[in-house]
Symmetry: C2
Subunit: 108 residues, 2 copies
């Protein structure tokens, strides 16, 4: 299991990427991250909702209430135009990060 410190700084981009595919709600994203990462990374609930708050405050995402058909009432999130721009920037940052860290921690 990957520790959050290893992902930190790229988490916003990961969430924005998932939201760029379609509107999603928190619990769904949580499960999706776990599944797509082949169970290598599990975002903690408290962390995820803190991310939503942060992104919404920056106007990178918007939220709206969903139905209550499968348990608790869902709150859906939608990426904004600003969010998409921010995502592109985040992707570039990830590429740069890979290049820089690889300079030090060679891949042998």
């Amino acid at each position: 299991m990957i520790s959050s410190d290893l992902i930190r700084g790229h988490l916003d981009a990961i969430i924005l990427k998932l939201l760029s595919e379609k509107d999603r709600y928190g619990y769904e994203i949580s499960k999706e991250i776990f599944a797509r990462s082949q169970e290598q990374f599990q975002i903690k609930e408290a962390t995820l909702y803190a991310v939503f708050q942060r992104l919404e405050k920056k106007e990178l995402i918007e939220s709206y209430s969903g139905n209550v058909s499968h348990g608790g009432k869902r709150r859906y999130y939608r990426i904004t135009k600003l969010g998409r721009a921010y995502l592109l920037q985040g992707i570039e940052e990830w590429k740069l990060t890979k290049r820089v860290i690889d300079i030090f921690i060679a891949e042998a």
Copy 2:
């Protein structure tokens, strides 16, 4: 310039890698990181010395006083056997991190 949050979690491994090449002192590591990263990453002094304290406490590095020939008195750091093992682990974690984040933020 890369923000520290993007590197966070891999910083210890970067420092340990540099120390695995040879004993070094703080200021030297600071300049070396800036140079090797092609001036894309600048570790802050306060951060670097905090890293040293953390690593020394965990017995991953040891330190000793150097000469005073070029200004302030240098404090050299040497990686320990435990540190080398930790470094190998850190390299594996970096590989895993790359794989996992790439799943989300595709490289297209």
